[in-house]
């Protein structure tokens, strides 16, 4: 008898989670290299009434369960900034960064140089090249990063010579859906999915990849969530009313 209430409740709980996903997407609408999340739902079947005396098969009750969140790995729009230390990746690649927890991957290419001259992220994590961190010397000027990720500079003493300071490691994954978001614009990969050099990605200097959250989609999603929530509440309400009237009518049975 309580199944209708519980089914409705399962939907409401799933909707709350979905709202949290939408809220996080909208909060990160201006985060460089952010990839939006989507919620996936699944029907969870539970056998209903069980009685051998039923003449037809019993019908199972289906609950809603949120099965997972999917990362939308589509390319975000590129914004030109003109800053030589901004890089965007055109394609499915990720930059490799060295964090205290190990190697992590990011699409947020707003880079800086630290006091040691190394190329780092805004959090101060080293950006790794093919031969470890990429370091600049004090007299370097005119940092250029080509589409293959090679970082070259002009030596201050002899501006006609270009010196290569390393090549950015741009990697891709066989199953990018298995990447896990770690916050700080970083992703981690499971141990059994090694990062392979990306051949199709191109590095764009002087541009940033903006968040790929699509505001209209998120807003419509949000309206859908809050309206469905109210609809389920109405359903629960009428189910409750049904119980109430059933109890009242049963208690009205004459006691003769």
């Amino acid at each position: 008898m309580e199944n209708a209430l519980l089914v409705g409740l399962s939907r409401q709980m799933a909707l709350q989670r979905e709202m949290e996903v939408v809220a996080n997407n909208i909060a990160n609408i201006d985060t460089n290299g952010f990839k939006a999340d989507f919620s996936l739902f699944q029907e969870y079947l539970m056998p209903g009434a069980r009685d051998g005396s039923f003449r037809v098969a019993d019908s199972p009750v289906s609950f809603v369960r949120d099965r997972g969140t999917l990362i939308d790995l589509n390319q975000g729009p590129l914004q030109r900034t003109g800053n030589p230390l901004d890089v965007a990746i055109n394609g499915d690649g990720f930059l490799v960064i060295n964090t205290p927890q190990g190697e992590r991957y990011t699409r947020n290419g707003s880079l800086e140089i630290n006091a040691q001259g190394e190329l780092v992220t805004s959090e101060g994590y080293q950006v790794l090249g093919d031969g470890g961190p990429i370091a600049f010397q004090a007299q370097d000027t005119g940092i250029t990063i080509n589409p293959e990720g090679t970082v070259s500079v002009k030596d201050g003493a002899n501006a006609t010579i270009a010196i290569i300071r390393g090549q950015l490691r741009v990697v891709s994954f066989a199953q990018p859906q298995r990447l896990q978001k770690e916050g700080d614009s970083t992703f981690s990969a499971p141990a059994d999915m090694p990062a392979a050099p990306s051949t199709t990605s191109r590095v764009v200097q002087g541009a940033l990849e903006k968040s790929n959250v699509r505001p209209i989609i998120e807003m419509s999603h949000m309206i859908e969530v809050s309206r469905s929530y109210a609809t389920i509440a109405n359903l629960l309400q009428s189910q409750g009313d049904l119980h109430k009237s059933a109890l009242q009518q049963l208690s009205d049975v004459p006691t003769s």
């Binding site: 709350q16 989670r17 709202m19 949290e20 996903v21 939408v22 809220a23 996080n24 909208i26 909060a27 990160n28 609408i29 201006d30 985060t31 460089n32 996936l40 949120d66 099965r67 997972g68 969140t69 990362i71 900034t81 003109g82 800053n83 230390l85 947020n108 707003s110 800086e112 140089i113 630290n114 006091a115 040691q116 001259g117 805004s122 959090e123 004090a138 007299q139 370097d140 000027t141 030596d155 201050g156 003493a157 501006a159 859906q177 298995r178 896990q180 978001k181 770690e182 916050g183 700080d184 499971p190 505001p215 998120e218 809050s226 929530y229 109210a230 509440a233 629960l236 119980h243 109430k244």
Partner: protein, 262 residues
């Protein structure tokens, strides 16, 4: 519901973005000003269902997990050290740096400040000082009788003394570079100071070893681009609005809960 706090973090971030943008626009015509931008990153995630865990005894692996993000944070407001346009003033003590390097300024407390604002003047004793009266390093004193101050691209300051046919070189203005210019700290008055993030200052001679050159009679304008700032302002304002809508929607969901009295 966590969505309330997630959206609140989004509103706080956009508010900060508007503050950074407003400071850029306010300094649209500040000599030597370098624009800043707000950098955001996603906050930590609540991994409700871990991706890649085993979902059955047959070794099936969950292809996706449930990750609930908890919002956004501001990670920094880096200064973009791109070259500003030069505007000609034909004032002999207006200097602009084209390329890398800062003018070094002696502060009243004995420490050094660094600036790209080269609108210099002479003080009562003939020293080259900033608009605030702090001495430009290395100190150069112009004799009171001197006429026609010339500063070449390498920073040599030469003047003509009456009675002499050849110009006298009084000194050379140096420039200072940092390995991480974005790591300098702004202290107002167009001055930046050294921090552990910027690395130690490296003094050098203009036009040598990657130092920029000095342009007399020019000032470096702010590198703020009004169109870019206005676009960013619109984006920030709309994002702020959208986050507030999330709060409204979440509030309505909670209200729905409260209205249920079965």
């Amino acid at each position: 519901m966590l969505a309330l706090y997630t959206a609140a973090s989004g509103m706080a971030a956009q508010e900060l973005a508007v503050q950074v943008i407003s400071n850029n626009i306010a300094n649209l015509s500040t000599t030597g000003y370098k624009r800043q931008r707000a950098e955001f990153q996603d906050l930590l995630y609540d991994h409700v269902r871990q991706v890649g865990t085993q979902s059955s005894n047959q070794g099936n692996i969950l292809p996706v997990g449930i990750e609930l993000g908890l919002g956004v944070k501001t990670v920094g407001t880096p200064r973009l050290m791109t070259q500003g346009n030069l505007s000609s003033t034909s004032n002999s003590l207006d200097l602009a740096v084209q390329g890398d390097g800062f003018f070094k300024i002696l502060m009243p407390d004995g420490s050094f400040g660094y600036t790209r604002d080269g609108s210099f003047n002479l003080d009562a004793t003939g020293r080259v000082v900033t608009a605030n009266g702090n001495v430009v390093q290395p100190g150069i004193t112009i004799p009171p009788t001197a006429t026609s101050i010339t500063i070449n691209q390498q920073g040599h300051v030469s003047v003509t003394i009456p009675g002499s046919t050849t110009p006298t070189v009084l000194g050379q203005i140096n420039l200072t570079r940092f390995i991480n210019e974005a790591g300098l700290q702004a202290i107002g008055d167009n001055l930046l100071v050294e921090t552990p993030a910027s690395g130690p200052p490296q003094d050098g001679i203009p036009m040598e070893n990657g130092y920029g050159n000095i342009q007399q009679g020019n000032l470096e304008q702010s590198n703020v681009d009004a169109v870019v700032e206005m676009t960013n302002l619109i984006t920030a304002q709309r994002s702020y609005e959208m986050n507030s809508k999330v709060i409204t929607a979440t509030d309505q969901m909670l209200q729905t809960n409260n209205n249920m009295h079965t």
